[in-house]
């Protein structure tokens, strides 16, 4: 079946929904999502969304800007970061006007709390002097993302946006650098649909499921990354994978940074508050890469606690906070600890370990969410990307907590506005013949394949090898091992066999296609990581433990090259106001 829409948005998370709100009346817009809109992963964000509102104490967007640049280990593009931090205040007020139920302070203003890496100078007259944590994260208890996605979805209903829930997008139709639509499988019927469009936005979220321990949803299989990568569009900075320090032990379920923002502390086997060693000034509120590394170091040096299954964890201690704060401001994570680990945070510390959390890299875009495929700014006409799948890059080598929710509402909106302009000025580009050929072939191949490999087995092996070799600490040797394994798995992937051969709601088939996406995404991560021979932000190479601004102050662009080794090119980092300096907390 062929549909025609002026704008097609793939993914109904925060970025997709925010963009959909910008498509003007009179133009058709379809939002495709492989789950129901409110099920998207934005909803799991807990802690907050940052904006220098200054509701609790003196603050300025310029401090926010500085923190984000420093947090990114100076790899973030400063023009984009400036736009985001400046626009944050307007964006939050706008969300409030849309009806988002924020927590409030005594004055009736939006309440704010401290968050990892967000600071202000102790002495305002000395902006580059010593910095102290600042209350900057606007929140709604510990379900900020949940109320945000609900609010955005509510407003989409108000606007009458057309949704296609449970449509799994498999391919992007692009020819001569002009985007023409997408191909999707309607999960309920198994039918293949072509969406012919003037503009397409990818807001498909992250790829956490490449790793074994992850806070990401099962649907976070990197579909958007893999689709564009296969279509010859590069991916930027894929080596930077954020590990959140506090995932529930074994499960990886996120315990928000807000827990530390409210005063929680990390402790090792001996009950020491070990972050005092690694980040003497802001301690447990250091950025995520710093804490994750510190935790791994503690475990390696024998100060972790061994669980019955042989894996190690550390402790997040909230017991000193008191019932009032825990129940009022952190109810959600209290529930998680109780349900999943049988631990009552009021009385005992929570066992935690670092968990795969966020993709800093992604589809390269400019500050208007337009996809640019090289260092000269060549665009793919009509193609946009926003949210986790995009790399603007505002997060550089490491994202600060709360900046992801900010990213989606700021750049989702900017992308939406550009799309609105684009649909007014352009006509439908002709649809190439057999646009759905790749999808049809893939589906047929998987359904008819009668090999002996199980999808789940390959997926598990991929997740293991990535977790072991391409996570917090990396070595060239380890990454090479992972690459070899990925090659092997890709070959075995051609020999799979699925049990469900039907058409209707065939999740077996969907999972098989997703596995293909995981493999392609993993490949781009591993090659990018192998290539960058320095340590920066979340990318830590034990064989190259120093940051190397001389050679590596640049973005990686990785291009697929058939079955051969991918091609790697570079793009300069935009530096406007702040020159790279040593990053310590």
């Amino acid at each position: 079946m062929i549909h025609q829409f002026d704008a097609v948005i793939v993914g109904a998370g925060g970025a997709g929904l925010r963009a959909a709100l910008e498509i003007p009346e009179g133009y058709t817009c379809a939002v495709l999502t492989k789950v129901y809109p409110t099920r998207s992963h934005t909803g799991t964000a807990q802690g907050g969304v940052c904006a220098a509102l200054g509701n609790e104490e003196e603050d300025s967007w310029e401090y926010h800007f500085f923190d984000t640049v420093k947090g990114s280990d100076f790899l973030g593009d400063q023009d984009a970061i400036e736009i985001m931090c400046y626009d944050a205040i307007r964006a939050i007020i706008e969300l409030e006007h849309m009806g988002m139920p924020f927590s409030r302070n005594e004055k009736g203003l939006i309440a704010q709390r401290p968050f990892g890496g967000h600071t202000k100078p102790k002495d305002p007259n000395n902006p580059f002097g010593e910095r102290v944590p600042v209350k900057r994260a606007c929140f709604s208890a510990d379900r900020t993302g949940h109320v945000m996605i609900q609010t955005l979805y509510e407003n989409c209903i108000k606007r009458g946006v057309k949704f296609f829930p449970e449509f799994f997008v498999t391919d992007l139709i692009v020819q001569d650098n002009v985007v023409r639509g997408v191909v999707a499988i309607e999960i309920a019927t198994g039918e293949i649909h072509i969406f012919h469009a003037k503009t397409v936005m990818f807001a498909t979220g992250g790829y956490g499921r490449v790793y074994r321990i992850t806070s990401n949803a099962v649907v976070g299989t990197g579909d958007g990354f893999a689709i564009v990568y296969r279509r010859g569009i590069p991916l930027e900075d894929m080596e930077f994978v954020q590990f959140h320090p506090t995932g529930l032990w074994r499960l990886g379920i996120l315990v928000s940074e807000a827990a530390r923002g409210e005063g929680g502390v990390l402790k090792n086997k001996f009950g020491e508050r070990f972050m005092e060693k690694y980040a003497p000034t802001i301690k447990d509120l250091a950025p995520r890469d710093v804490i994750s590394r510190a935790m791994y170091t503690e475990i390696r040096e024998g100060r972790g606690i061994q669980g019955p299954d042989g894996t190690y964890y550390l402790l997040l201690d909230l017991t000193h906070l008191g019932a009032e704060i825990i129940n009022k401001k952190l109810p959600e994570i209290t529930g998680f600890a109780r349900i999943y680990l049988g631990v009552d945070p009021l009385r005992e510390p929570i066992p935690v370990q670092p968990t795969t959390h966020y993709a800093m890299g992604g589809i390269p875009t400019n500050v208007d969410a337009e996809v640019v495929i090289d260092d000269k700014g060549t665009k793919i006409e009509g193609f946009y990307a926003a949210g986790e799948v995009a790399c603007v890059s505002v997060h550089g080598a490491n994202r600060l907590g709360t900046n992801s929710l900010l990213d989606i509402i700021v750049f989702g909106r900017r992308g939406g506005k550009k799309m609105a302009e684009y649909v007014k000025e352009h006509d439908f580009p002709p649809l190439p013949k057999d646009a759905d050929e790749w999808t049809r072939r893939t589906v047929e191949r998987i359904l008819n394949s009668n090999g002996k490999e199980r999808v789940s087995r390959i997926r598990k092996e991929l997740q293991e090898i990535m977790m072991d070799n391409v996570s917090v600490f990396r070595t060239g040797e380890g990454i090479k091992k992972a690459i070899e394994k990925i090659k092997e798995l890709k070959e075995r992937y051609l020999e799979i066999k699925i049990d469900d051969k039907g058409k209707k709601f065939n999740t077996d088939l969907i999972e098989a296609i997703e596995l293909g996406n995981l493999l392609d995404t993993a490949e781009s991560i591993a090659y990018s990581a192998l290539n960058r021979t320095e340590s920066r932000g979340a990318h830590y190479r034990e064989d190259y433990p120093k940051r190397d601004d001389q050679n590596w102050l640049k973005h990686t662009l990785i291009y697929k090259n058939g079955d051969k080794e991918p091609i790697i090119k570079y793009k300069p980092v935009v530096i406007t106001k702040i020159q790279p300096m040593e990053r310590k907390y």
Partner: protein
């Protein structure tokens, strides 16, 4: 420990009638029900179909009926269902069925079309008539607290499908939609209270609630939905008098 899962199966392409299939598996008391389902799908029978996404009870995808009661498969451990002895073989099967009273698409997957229509009926968005201020609208912490619990709802449909009033009349708005109505009626910033009260004050609306508390027991986010609905009823009565 050994547990038998008795799972509701129905494939519209091959089965004329739904049936139950037993799977005997090795599990740990600390496993979630969703882990066990994943194990079956991954290792034993790939045709088993169910929805899931975030796996920690915030996306609301995997609502199903487990041992006779609606809950999220990702938010319940086997040990909380009485399977707590790691060395035992349990005879009593763990019965897993789709949400009751909904059309069934396949296995544990149900059709949510009506559920979303009901949700949309109560106008689930802030309506304001006055010009918004330059900064945020002010709201006291007490007023914010009033809608905090209601805004926890994850729209998993566990409540609505557990309500006997929905079973007898599938057009009843149901707890989820009424809770959403509460969320906006009691939002100090909303300016369409009257319009909203009219929507729920119908024979298929709030008056089909008989405080049976099935919704409260089913809610995975522990929202006291009945309390919120009783506030709405009082508001409606106040308006009439």
């Amino acid at each position: 420990m050994k547990v038998t899962l008795r799972i509701f199966r129905f494939n519209p392409e091959t089965d004329s009638k739904p049936y139950y299939k037993d799977y005997e598996i090795e599990a740990d008391p600390k496993d979630r029900v969703i882990d066990v389902l994943h194990y079956i799908k991954n290792e034993i029978d790939g045709t088993l179909t169910f929805r899931r996404s975030c796996l920690h009870g915030i996306c609301g995808s995997d609502g199903m009926r487990i041992n006779g009661k609606n809950m999220l498969a990702c938010s319940i451990l086997l040990q909380d269902l009485g399977y707590s002895d790691a060395n035992k073989t349990y005879k009593k099967p763990l019965v897993i069925e789709p949400l009751p009273g909904m059309p069934i698409i396949k296995d544990l997957v149900t059709d949510f079309t009506d559920f979303w229509k009901k949700y949309e009926t109560v106008k689930p968005y802030l309506i304001t008539k006055s010009q918004p201020p330059e900064r945020e609208r002010l709201q006291s912490p007490e007023d914010a607290e009033l809608i905090m619990e209601a805004s926890k709802c994850i729209l998993c449909a566990c409540c609505t499908t557990s309500c006997p009033s929905t079973w007898s009349n599938e057009d009843y708005l149901g707890p989820a939609a009424l809770l959403k109505a509460y969320r906006f009626i009691f939002d100090s910033r909303d300016e369409a209270t009257d319009e909203r009260l009219d929507i729920i004050d119908t024979p298929n609306g709030i008056w089909r609630c008989h405080t049976i508390f099935h919704c409260v027991q089913a809610c995975p986010k522990e929202i006291n939905i009945t309390w919120h609905i009783s506030q709405l009823k009082k508001k409606l009565v106040e308006r009439e008098i």
